[in-house]
């Protein structure tokens, strides 16, 4: 999966940042089309698979600086 990295200011990091972000991913209006676009090497790309991978790869995508 090739997704951009998102940098956040660690000094402003609330203790439940990660948990809140993962909840927010669950609520994203992702579609199968988006999954097909981002999951280039995945057969049967689905919105639910994209959410699952976003959460699994959370620490690589969302960096605290």
């Amino acid at each position: 999966m090739c997704l951009n990295k998102w940098m956040f200011n660690g000094a402003k990091n609330p203790p439940d940042f990660k948990q809140n972000m993962k909840k927010a991913i669950d609520n994203l209006p992702l579609t199968d089309d988006m999954a097909k676009k981002f999951l280039k090497d995945v057969e049967n790309p689905t919105a639910s698979k994209l959410k699952k991978y976003l959460k699994e790869d959370f620490d690589e995508i969302f960096k605290l600086k």
Partner: protein
């Protein structure tokens, strides 16, 4: 170009199926050419496409449709999560186990011929797929049949290199790319033996592939934003084993033309978008759709889309004399070319 139609609130992509443009909007499939509409009910859990076929999936089965929204096959199968369709009688049906791991049943002429487990990779045809050892292990792949009964060849990247997500079958060869921080390399290998046929340095860009002509094409540039940036095209011809990189002929600068953005190749015309960013509190910047001729190397036109200002071009499809441009906000504009 003249606007001949506008459709709003498209929350999915527009799909180019066998030369027909199909939209999935508000629980309806619409063939924009014939205007045929197929409404589907709440029981349908997924409405999507695979290769040249549409499908509707519900708890107790899957319907395969053609581009004219005609039913081709109804497969009674419980709890499927997806289907990969090669044709109406050759397909793989996807399921999930309790650990959310996927597996598939493979059908040939509508007969079950085997099951596949732990698949990380992609089907290239009904005969070939590339597979990684695990997800995100992008240094190695094997080219196999779909049930992994036969390995045609395997490839291990050199230290520091990673496979790009672009694999193409062309004639009896596999074309693929890999890269490190400094280099991008394209390789072409015999699909059955893995014997290397061609290996060449390329510019790191994402291509659109024209299988009929054996061409890979891309265009990109930000010279309007960064003085040291070049606007460039790259055309790889598999027939002549040549790589052509140059500056498109034009009298203006690209601002934000990205090779990874959706482009569309129709005959010699490569349609692309220029998506300058807009910032909150400022007047939204217009975005553009353009056309580059891969033979004359000239940009035929670039046209602002004020109706989509502040958004991004998410998809471009040309069908006959119509150009379909979809924004990331779900607006679709149809132009008469």
């Amino acid at each position: 170009m003249k606007i001949i139609d506008e459709i709003h609130n498209i929350n999915n992509g527009i799909w180019n199926i066998n030369g027909n443009v199909v939209v999935n909007k508000e629980r309806s499939l619409i063939n924009l050419g014939t205007k045929k509409v197929l409404k589907y009910d709440e029981e349908i859990k997924r409405c999507f496409y695979s290769n040249d076929y549409l499908f509707l999936l519900k708890d107790d089965g899957i319907s395969i449709l053609d581009e004219n929204l005609n039913l081709l096959n109804r497969i009674d199968k419980n709890n499927a999560v997806g289907i990969s369709i090669f044709d109406q009688e050759n397909y793989a049906i996807w399921f999930e186990n309790e650990d959310e791991e996927e597996y598939f049943d493979l059908y040939s002429n509508a007969e079950l011929i085997g099951k596949g487990n732990f698949f990380y990779g992609k089907f290239l045809s009904k005969n070939y797929c590339y597979r990684f050892r695990k997800r995100k292990d992008l240094q190695h792949f094997r080219l196999t049949d779909l049930l992994d009964n036969k390995t045609y060849f395997e490839y291990q990247c050199e230290e520091g290199y990673e496979l790009a997500s672009e694999f193409y079958i062309w004639q009896d060869t596999l074309v693929f790319k890999y890269f490190n921080e400094d280099n991008s390399i394209l390789e072409q290998r015999d699909i059955k033996t893995g014997k290397i046929i061609w290996k060449t340095n390329i510019q790191g860009s994402r291509f659109i592939f024209d299988e009929k002509r054996g061409l890979l094409a891309s265009i990109w540039g930000k010279s309007g934003m960064y003085a040291d940036s070049k606007d460039q095209y790259q055309i790889i011809n598999l027939n002549t084993q040549t790589v052509e990189i140059g500056s498109p002929l034009k009298d203006f600068n690209f601002t934000q033309v990205e090779s990874h953005m959706e482009t569309f190749l129709y005959d010699s015309k490569l349609y692309f978008s220029d998506n300058p960013f807009s910032y909150a509190g400022e007047e939204p910047n217009p975005i553009y759709v353009g056309c580059f001729d891969i033979e004359s190397k000239k940009v035929d036109f670039i046209q602002a889309i004020p109706e989509m200002a502040g958004s991004q071009v998410a998809q471009i499809i040309r069908n006959g004399e119509k150009l379909y441009v979809r924004s990331s906000n779900g607006d679709l504009i149809v132009y008469d070319i």
